[in-house]
Amino acid sequence: MSMIECKNLSNNSLKSLDFFLEEGRVLGLLGKNGAGKTTLLSVLMGVLDKSPYADVKVMGHVPGCWPEAIKNEIGYVPQRFWGFDAMSIREAIKTIKPFYENWDDALATELINEFDLPEHQQIKKLSEGQKQLTSIVLAMSFRPKLLVLDEPVASLDPLSRRVFLEKLIENHCDLGTSVIFSTHITSDLERIASDVLILKDGTSVISGDIESVRESVVRMKFNFPKHKKLTFDGLSVLSSSSHGDIQQLLVDQGGLDVKQILTEKGASNIHCEHLNLDDLFLELHS
């Protein structure tokens, strides 16, 4: 079953975006600031509007139109946690717990302890990082089937970040929770994601199984006579640059023998290199 189906999603900042999230997968969302990550996650949560032509389903329903039972299977951690200001973490838990059938007190306590959160302090007095962790505790403790996390680690120190990743993976192993999360930390994504979606200017430039992406998308460096014109027809070129006779391409090979194709076009001395996500991201934006 698809947890998320997104076809032809457009609005003010997104342009015909297509992607899927299958059950039990962990999707990492990458993109520069302003690329549309938060907009996308807000649309998925039914907080922001989309064009009427878009076909978006989250757990089988149009965002915002979930039956109560399904709504309670989606955990959401927005970029900025708000509300519950005057309450302590414990009081906030007491308030929201009755809405969730699967609320797990033991898990909530375990997370509070592992995150080292002051459970009796007023939420408005917590640091940004502690607020973010509180938001994570509230979203994970009702054991949702789908977790939507908007930069969940943005304000966390390295230690809390690591504990969070471990807890997320543990939860994923035990319950098969599907996850979509945005981040700027590519090493976290390499660790925990099974799929990746890279957004640029509101649309998807790379998406798919992370191993296949790393296998398929390569950087090619080669010599090509400056005075001749190199055409990319038939190739999926994601970015290109040249310095004199030396050309550099970021190509999605898509099963083609790109080296052979370039050789036929007159390229020589071809080097092909696999990239980590960090380099891939930089190369896409160069």
């Binding site: 660790r191 980590n276 960090d278």
Partner: protein, 123 residues
């Protein structure tokens, strides 16, 4: 043995390969012995904070290499080993030596000096 495993998420080498290579080395070096249980996929995934599918993929690769076995309904165990040949052990080091030699050449260090350096760090 989990504490012996270390991964570098940004190294460019797929994580499942890093794991497979490390466990292969632990077996070849005798750190893991025939009959030793491998930790569960869940435990490895959790303690390294990596996707469990990555760990499964690595375990599958170890099974395919016949370095481990999975008796019906039991945990994965290190296989009764044919001693790892010296040749195979050397192959495991090749990527590292390749890089070492390349960097030495970039620094214009000759073979003799490099050997000396290895000798010194051996102690």
């Amino acid at each position: 043995m989990i504490h012996l495993l270390q991964i570098k998420p940004n190294s460019g080498e797929p994580i499942y390969l890093q794991l497979t290579d490390q466990i292969s080395r632990l077996i070849a070096g005798g750190e893991l012995k025939a009959g030793d249980e491998l930790p569960s996929v869940r435990d490895v995934a959790k303690s390294l904070a990596i996707n469990p599918m990555t760990v499964s993929k690595s375990y599958q690769a170890l099974l395919a290499k016949e370095l481990v076995i999975r008796p019906r309904g039991q945990k994965m165990r290190v296989a009764e080993s044919q001693q790892t040949e010296l040749e195979d052990k050397l192959t495991m080091l090749k990527p590292l030596t390749g890089e070492l030699v390349q960097q030495a050449k970039e620094l214009k260090i000759d073979l003799q000096k490099l050997q000396l350096l290895i000798q010194q760090s051996w102690k």
